[in-house]
Structures are given as structure tokens and as C-alpha cells.
């Protein structure tokens, strides 16, 4: 009979840090510029050029490391990782090796071994040129963009758990404004170390490193495939080879890239061009003090503080901007649940329509709070409110102004409503007769007629009550 196997997975995540300039020079980090327009002697490795560390990249990395529960090391050391590749202009990557910036974290149930700073490489362009069959071009705009590498412990036990973890990690990095979360543009990338072992055993199996997992779907599919492949190899009495494998998204499988024997000897040694990076406790404390509340904590607080349902809390913390918007709406006087309903409903719909996600919302939270207040006070009805919302969103005017200018105030004079009801009953004798004959469904029709006569401005609740009285009389 066949053994049951347990997968063991650890992730290595590379996240570009959202700095204006590169990690060792002043060049822009903007994505999408014409090739080789954001380059200088430093980031293309001209003879004699030297790196100078960008402080802001360090701050971002510290922020990420703190969010992952890591300890920031007071002294960390840059090291050179030596290998040849055309997109690596100096023939080495400046990274951190023996003394990384941060160690020993714990995030979303997974241990974090280390978080370190390094520079990104350029990009080889194998396609898209008339002579691409013969040549490869290199774009160095990305060369020197700051990265953090985050290495987890092998604490993940399934492909879906790995994908979920990566998703939570992405959410947090984006939440911190440390990374833009854009996997398509490669600003967030993931490699995975995968092994399998017979269920219930402790020793780790031989691992393969799977690269090129540039989406959550690829990560999960690649891991599923790789786990199945390793189990099959073992099931056939074979041995898993320690190697680097590449996810081929088109073929839907991992393929061998290089074996352990072919693995690079990176000849790491301390980078002599950069002094040790010293981060004192005061700097860490200052950054910690300015850290925003993380998504998980905020979700819990929303439930406790505002008594919104868990579902709402989850939706409202999809991004920091959205959560801020929610709280600003409340601060402007709105009750929590109506605020939540409007934000998750109409606002989300409109923002999606204009493809603005949440930042910046063209509708300030004070305006939304104003609208909600008008409903609560009974000044306008819910259906009128939707129209007002549309107009507010389009023009930015206050709800009160729109209501006043367009005469949308709910009819509050009961005698006026009673008059309208009398008219409706007089004109709809048949319906009244049917109602009195026990066909109660006709009641809704009559309410509709009254509302129509009131041009929607009557309070529907009150119309109900008064109509029932009139019919009962």
C-alpha cells in the first residue's frame, strides 16, 4: 500500500521597496520608462562607480521586518553575491548574507528566518525586437531597485496554505506602503522550497527550489504539481534530486533548471564599498511608533469598537485607505453599520466603475457622513439617497445642498400625505375594493401609487401607516 506524504514548504519572497530612487544611486525607480533611461554610472556598474545606501530603503525594510515580527539587528553587513549574467552589471549583486538586517520573525503562523536588503538586477529582453531570434537586449532601469528578501521557515504544509500565506504577506506589505503588490510587473516575486516526507515522520525530505511563481495561482499550481511529482518519484522507489526547477505556466509543470552540482558558488564576501549598516534602537523605535495598525489588528478592532459584522470588517480592511475612509466617515458623525453598508455597497460600486479602487476617493468621507445623517434624520428617503449619492459622487457637492437645490426633502407635513392618499384611494376604487375583499397584495400597489404622487419624497414608513389607517377607516 502506498504511503501518505506530507508536503513541507518554505518561501523566499522578493519585494521591491517603494522608494523614489534606487538603493545605491539617485536614479528613479519608476516602472515602465523607456529602456535604459533610468540609469547612471552606479547602477550600470561603470568602472570606478561606488554604491551609497539609500536611507529610505532601509526604513522601508525595517517597517516590513517589524510587521513580520522580526528583530532588527543593530549591525548588519552588505555582502557581494558573485555571478555572471548580462543583467547583473557589476558581476555581483550587493545583498546581505551572514548578517542580515532582521531575523527571527513570526507572521500568520509561519516563522520568518530573515529579512535582508539587496538590489534588483536589470531585465533581459528576449522577445519583442526584430532581431530577437539572434539577440537579447538588456534594460537596466530595474538594476539597483531596492528589494527585501523575506525567507520563511519550512512551516507551510500545503500549496493552498502557501498561497494564503503569500497573500496575507502581500496584503501587509501593500498596507505598509512598502511594496505595491504588483506581481505582474514583478515588484513582488516568490520562490518556494518544497519537499515531501512520509506523514508522521520528522526528517525533512530532499527539497527542490521552484522559481518563477509570479502569481498566486501559479504559486499554488506549481506547488501542487511539484508535490505530486515528488510523491510520484518516491512512490516509484526513486529519489528526489536537490535542484532548482522552473514553473512552466504554459505546460503547467515544473522543469529542471539546474542541479545541486551545477549550483553557483556565489563566493559571498563582505562588500568593502559599504560600511556596516548600523540601525540603532532609537531609529527602530521611531519607525515602530509610526507603524500603521496592521490589517489583522484593525479587523479585530472594527468588530469590537464599531460592532460591525466580521464580514464587514474584512471588507473594510481590504486596504488601508478603505479602512481609513470608514473610520473617517464615522468620525464625521455617521453610525458604523450604515457607513459600512454605503462603503461596501454604493461607494465600492462607483469606485469600481471609475476603476479608482479606493485612493483617492472623489467623495470625501465627510460628504458620505452628511448623506447618512440626512437619511437618519428622515430628511430624505433611502431611494432618494441613492440618487443624491450619484450626484454627490459626480459633483462633489454636499448631500444637503443637492437635496435643498433639487427639492428632494421628504414630505413631513402629514396632512399633505393624507391628502395624497385620499386622491389615490378615490382614483383607484377597484384596488381598494380588492383590498377590502381580502386581496392584501393590493396594498403594495397603493403604497406605490402614493409614493409616485409624492414624487418619492414621502416617508415610505409613514405612508404605510397612514394608508393602513385610511383603508381601515
Amino acid at each position: 500500500m502506498s504511503l501518505r506524504y506530507e508536503p513541507v514548504i518554505g518561501l523566499e519572497i522578493h519585494a521591491q521597496l517603494l522608494t523614489e530612487s534606487k538603493i545605491f544611486c539617485g536614479c528613479s525607480t519608476a516602472f515602465g520608462a523607456d529602456p535604459n533611461t533610468h540609469i547612471c554610472p552606479v547602477c550600470i556598474g561603470l568602472p570606478g562607480a561606488l554604491p551609497v545606501l539609500n536611507r529610505r530603503a532601509v526604513d522601508h525594510a525595517i517597517r516590513a521586518a517589524l510587521a513580520l515580527g522580526c528583530t532588527i539587528q543593530e549591525t548588519s553587513i552588505f555582502a557581494r553575491k558573485n555571478y555572471f549574467y548580462p543583467d547583473l552589471p557589476k558581476g555581483y549583486q550587493i545583498s546581505q548574507y551572514e548578517r542580515p538586517l532582521a531575523v527571527d520573525g513570526f507572521f500568520d503562523g509561519v516563522g520568518i528566518i530573515r529579512v535582508h536588503l539587496e538590489e534588483d538586477a536589470g531585465k533581459s529582453l528576449h522577445e519583442g525586437f526584430v532581431d530577437s531570434d539572434r539577440k537579447t537586449y538588456v534594460d537596466y532601469n530595474r538594476s539597483g531597485v531596492p528589494l527585501v528578501e523575506i525567507v520563511t521557515r519550512p512551516d507551510l504544509r500545503s500549496a493552498s496554505a502557501a498561497a494564503d500565506f503569500f497573500s496575507r504577506l502581500r496584503e501587509t506589505l501593500v498596507w505598509l506602503d512598502v511594496n505595491d503588490g504588483n506581481m505582474e510587473e514583478g515588484s513582488l516575486r516568490c520562490d518556494a522550497n518544497v519537499s515531501v516526507r512520509p506523514e508522521g515522520t520528522v526528517p525533512l525530505g530532499t527539497k527542490a527550489e521552484v522559481k518563477n511563481l509570479n502569481s498566486f495561482r501559479f504559486l499554488q499550481k506549481a506547488l501542487e504539481h511539484e508535490i505530486a511529482r515528488q510523491i510520484e518519484v518516491l512512490g516509484e522507489g526513486g529519489r528526489v534530486v536537490q535542484e532548482t526547477r522552473l514553473w512552466d505556466a504554459v505546460a503547467g509543470r515544473t522543469v529542471s533548471m539546474r542541479s545541486k552540482e551545477e549550483a553557483h558558488d556565489y563566493r559571498y564576501f563582505p562588500e568593502p564599498d559599504l560600511p556596516p549598516l548600523v540601525v540603532d534602537a532609537a531609529r527602530v523605535a521611531a519607525i515602530r511608533a509610526e507603524m500603521p495598525e496592521l490589517p489583522d489588528a484593525r479587523r479585530r478592532r472594527f468588530v469590537e469598537q464599531y460592532a460591525v459584522p466580521e464580514y464587514d470588517a474584512g471588507q473594510l480592511t481590504q486596504s488601508r485607505a478603505l479602512a481609513d475612509y470608514f473610520e473617517a466617515t464615522i468620525a464625521a458623525g455617521a453610525a458604523a453599520k450604515p457607513a459600512s453598508n454605503w462603503i461596501m455597497g454604493e461607494l465600492a460600486r462607483k469606485l469600481k466603475e471609475i476603476d479608482a479602487r479606493t485612493t483617492p476617493s472623489p467623495l470625501p468621507p465627510e460628504r458620505l457622513a452628511g448623506l447618512i445623517a440626512l437619511i437618519e434624520k428622515g430628511t430624505i428617503s433611502g431611494s432618494i439617497a441613492k440618487d443624491v449619492f450619484e450626484k454627490m459622487f459626480a459633483t462633489g457637492r454636499a448631500a444637503g445642498d443637492i437635496v435643498a437645490a433639487e427639492g428632494l426633502t421628504q414630505i413631513s407635513d402629514e396632512s399633505q400625505i393624507v391628502g395624497l392618499i385620499a386622491d389615490v384611494l378615490a382614483k383607484n376604487g377597484d384596488a381598494v375594493a380588492q383590498y377590502r375583499a381580502g386581496k392584501t397584495a393590493t396594498f403594495g400597489f397603493l403604497v406605490g401609487q402614493v409614493m409616485k404622487a409624492a414624487a418619492g419624497k414621502a416617508n415610505p414608513k409613514r405612508v404605510n401607516e397612514l394608508l393602513r389607517e385610511a383603508l381601515g377607516a
Binding site: P41, G48, N82, P89, T136, D273
Partner: protein, 503 residues
């Protein structure tokens, strides 16, 4: 051609308009034209740019009135980047390479009014001790044309010695300023590591490299150091310490200054003429009131192996960028001569590797390749601890020896040694014996391993014709004491006034 001058004279002549900067510049260019065919000290002469700059100074004398080097023609070692001017590091790899920016030291010299007239020959990527490792042929010693000028800043030292220019920049990784200065009979100063920016210096070994001046006399070296020294936002290893007024250190008063002599280190391998000149020089300083005292540097004998492990390790990495992809030499003979085809998923790794291999095999000379291989080896998995790490540990011990000598009770202010154990040897004499060649650096490498400043001043001649240098090593950032001692010595001797026959 005018007679050779020192920096202060030229500057004064230009300032008083006794001579125009253009005139001074043309003279220097004429001397290059006359002497370089014999010396091969220059890889590139920058006639037009030099004259244009000199004319600019002449047009606007007010602006340059207080510039410390106004109108002074200088030469720059060819491993310092000069914007728009070919910078080769004497390598075939960079034979046609023209940088888009100036090294910080070059920019500072030019803002002080100096006129760059050319780029000087050196050992390829500043690796060597004789200037024979140049893709453009050896430099010849102005004192004896069949001999080496020392290395690696041989072209700069020879050009100053031949009185083509009064001042040149060199770089010193293991003695590359001091040793050729000694062998050519001029003054060479390696500043404290971090005192002078390395930005724009083509790296040999980053933790050892330092740019410094070569001049005919100490006073000029002091002026030049004042110009190039100081922190640089483009070099994270520069120190922020204020730059003192080096000129004011030259008081001539060395009474009570304590000079340490590591006698045991000098017992073996030192040429008798060198030893005689060295001890005579100490007597001169003693007669001025300096105190001589013995010091022990127990780990100094490991300096050469430590140096050749650390420097080659760093060099193997620093020189990885010369891969034929972006700039510089790329070997022909691949399937095409256009941009390299990178490794592709469909497999073209082999052609890329072949391009790298051929480019580096043809672009680098034998000594550079030897050091890349050595350095790659000492950093390799399984050897790192035994070689690189061990070397770094011993490096620390060597530094402690020096600190002990300087900082102990009754510690010394400077440590004296001959700059080179031997005078200039004949071209070709040691090329087949790299170990023998490496030993020429025995007294100079420690200053680089420790980061301490060191100066070489002319202190006599061997057999009447070959210059000998006295080296003084000082405390971190204590260039003033070194300059004061060297200047005091210079005041009592005539060596620096000697000119080679060719000049």
C-alpha cells in the same frame, strides 16, 4: 622648454601674470612630446582640453586668484576616470573606453585650477610592482631607461621625476604610489584609507585602494592632498573628519617627534645600498631632534601573504564587470559581433559563456588573470575560511601591531622603513617570477592592510644612479606628522633637487 618648476612657483607666476597658464601648459605638453617616446609614461595626452582649460584660466584671472593649483599642469593615472577622456587602466579591456564622468579627485584638482595634460601608464588595473603589466608596454625609469620605474603608478612617478609635470595623481593598493615614487626619486603619499574619495578610481581592491599625490617635493604633495582630501557623498567609505591645513604642518620642527624603527624586519632581504641610505636618513632626522626608537611589528612578516589573499579576493569580484556586455572590449569570433545573446530558456547559455570566456581571456593580461583566479579560489566554498577569513584575521593582528607601536606608553609618532627593499630592477628581470615580484611590496603593503597613511621621500641613490626612498607610516589621519617629518628631512637634504639625466 622652460626649466622644471614646483607647484608654488607655477601658481605664483600664473597669478602674477608673469606667465600665462597657456604658456605653462604648452611647455608641459612640449615636454611630454619630447620625453614620452623614451619613457612611455603617458597612455593619452589631452592637448586640446588642456589648452582650452589653461586659456579659460588666463581669461578669468580673478576667478582663479585663490585657487591653490591655478595653472599647474598635472598628470592623472589612467585608472582615474576623466570625463570624455579615454581611461584604460592600461588594459586592453578598456582600450577605447571613455567615461561619462570625472573621478572626484580629478574634479577637485580641476576646480583648484589644475590642468590635466594626460593620463599616465600603469600596471593593468593597478596590479603589479614594476609597471611591466601594461597593455601599452612598460614605463621606463627616467634615471635608467632599461629599468622599471616601479609600479603600479609608474607613469605618474616617471612623469614627475622627468619634470614633465610637477604633480600627478596615483593610486596605492599595496605600495603603488610609494614604491614607484621611491624608485623614481620623487615624493609619494598614500593617505589614510577614507581620507580621499575613491569615486571614479577604477577599483583594484576596494578595502585597500587609496588615491594620492606624487610630487617633486613634500610641500607640493601637501597642497595636492589638501585639494583632494575630504568626505565625498559618492563614496561611503570616505571619512567626515575635517581636512587640516597641511601646509601649516610644515614647520620644520621635529624636535621630540618619535620615530619607530622595526629593525628586526629589516634584517633580511634589504639591498645594502638601500639599508645604508635608510639609516643615514634616520640620522638626518635625529640630528633635527627626532627621537629614534625600536619597535616590534611581530605580524608584519605575514603582510605579503595576507595582502595577496585580500587584494586578489576583492579584485576577482571588482573585475567581474568587464564581461563584454555593456562597454569595453568584447572578443570577436562569436557567431556575431553584436550584443551578446543572453542565456535563454530555450538554451543559449553556451554561447553566452563562450563570449564571456573569450572576452576575458583576450581582454585581460596574464597578471590580471592570475589574480582573478587566485581571488576566485580564496573566496570559493570550502576555502573561504582557510584563506580569505584567516587573512582578514591576520590583517587585524597587523593593525594591532601598529596601534601598539603608536599608542603604547612612549609610543611613536611614525614608523620608518625603506619604501622598497631594492632599487629599480631591470625591465624583464622579474617578470617570470611573480613571487619575487610580490616581495618588492614587503614594506608597503602593511599601510594598505591597516589603512594607515604613509609617505615616501627620496633619501639617496644606489650606486650613484638609482633613487632610494624613505617611507614613514603614521597614525590614522595624521598626515600632518608625516608631512612635517618628510618636509624637515627634505630641508636638510638635496636629494629631491636631483634630476634624472633625461630631464
Amino acid at each position: 622648454m622652460d626649466s622644471p618648476q614646483v607647484v608654488a612657483d607655477i601658481r605664483e607666476a600664473v597669478r602674477s601674470r608673469a606667465r600665462s597658464a597657456t604658456d605653462v601648459c604648452r611647455d608641459a605638453l612640449a615636454r611630454v612630446a619630447a620625453l614620452n617616446p623614451a619613457l612611455n609614461a603617458f597612455n593619452t595626452v589631452v592637448t586640446d582640453r588642456a589648452i582650452a582649460r589653461a586659456e579659460a584660466i588666463d581669461r578669468d584671472p580673478d576667478r582663479w586668484r585663490d585657487a591653490p593649483l591655478a595653472g599647474v599642469p598635472v598628470a592623472i593615472k589612467d585608472n582615474l576616470c576623466t570625463r570624455g577622456v579615454r581611461t584604460t587602466a592600461s588594459s586592453r579591456m578598456l582600450e577605447h573606453y571613455s567615461p561619462p564622468y570625472d573621478a572626484t579627485t580629478v574634479a577637485r584638482l580641476e576646480s583648484a585650477g589644475a590642468i590635466v595634460i594626460g593620463k599616465t601608464n600603469c600596471d593593468e588595473f593597478a596590479m603589479g610592482s614594476s609597471n611591466e603589466n601594461s597593455a601599452f608596454g612598460p614605463v621606463r625609469n627616467p634615471w635608467a631607461l632599461d629599468r622599471i620605474p616601479g609600479g603600479t603608478s609608474g607613469g605618474s612617478a616617471a612623469a614627475v621625476a622627468a619634470r614633465i609635470i610637477p604633480l600627478a595623481l596615483g593610486s596605492d593598493t599595496g605600495g603603488s604610489i610609494r614604491q614607484p615614487s621611491a624608485m623614481c626619486g620623487v615624493v609619494g603619499l598614500k593617505p589614510t584609507y577614507g581620507r580621499v574619495s575613491r569615486y571614479g578610481l577604477i577599483a583594484h581592491a576596494s578595502s585597500l585602494d587609496q588615491v594620492g599625490p606624487i610630487a617633486t617635493r613634500v610641500r607640493d604633495a601637501a597642497v595636492a592632498l589638501g585639494v583632494i582630501a575630504g568626505g565625498d557623498g559618492a563614496d561611503a567609505t570616505t571619512a567626515s573628519e575635517a581636512v587640516p591645513d597641511y601646509g601649516s604642518a610644515l614647520t620644520g620642527n621635529v624636535r621630540g617627534t618619535r620615530i619607530g624603527v622595526p629593525r628586526r624586519l629589516l634584517e633580511q632581504g634589504v639591498d645594502p645600498d638601500v639599508a645604508r641610505a635608510f639609516f643615514a636618513a634616520l640620522d638626518v632626522l635625529a640630528s633635527r631632534g627626532a627621537t629614534l626608537t625600536d619597535v616590534e611589528l611581530p605580524h608584519a612578516r605575514y603582510a605579503i601573504p595576507v595582502y595577496y589573499l585580500v587584494s586578489t579576493a576583492e579584485a576577482s569580484s571588482n573585475l567581474a564587470r568587464y564581461d563584454g556586455v555593456r562597454y569595453g572590449f568584447r572578443a570577436k569570433g562569436s557567431r556575431e559581433d553584436g550584443p551578446a545573446r543572453a542565456a535563454r530558456a530555450d538554451g543559449d547559455e553556451a554561447s553566452l559563456q563562450a563570449m564571456y570566456g573569450r572576452t576575458r581571456a583576450c581582454g585581460f593580461g596574464p597578471e590580471v588573470k592570475r589574480r582573478i583566479m587566485l581571488g576566485t579560489y580564496v573566496l570559493s566554498a570550502g576555502y573561504y575560511d582557510a584563506y580569505y577569513l584567516k587573512a582578514q584575521q591576520v590583517r587585524t593582528l597587523i593593525l594591532r601591531d601598529y596601534e601598539q607601536a603608536f599608542d603604547c606608553e612612549r609610543g611613536v609618532d611614525a614608523i620608518a622603513m625603506p619604501t622598497s627593499p631594492v632599487p629599480a630592477f631591470k625591465i624583464g628581470e622579474r617578470v617570470d617570477d611573480p613571487l619575487q615580484m610580490y616581495l618588492a611590496d614587503v614594506f608597503t603593503v602593511s599601510a594598505n592592510l591597516t589603512g594607515l597613511p604613509a609617505i615616501s621621500v627620496p633619501c639617496g641613490f644606489s650606486a650613484g644612479t638609482l633613487p632610494i626612498g624613505l617611507q614613514l607610516t603614521g597614525r590614522r589621519f595624521d598626515e600632518p606628522s608625516l608631512l612635517r617629518l618628510a618636509d624637515a628631512y627634505e630641508r636638510d637634504t638635496e636629494w629631491w633637487k636631483q634630476q634624472p639625466p633625461i630631464a
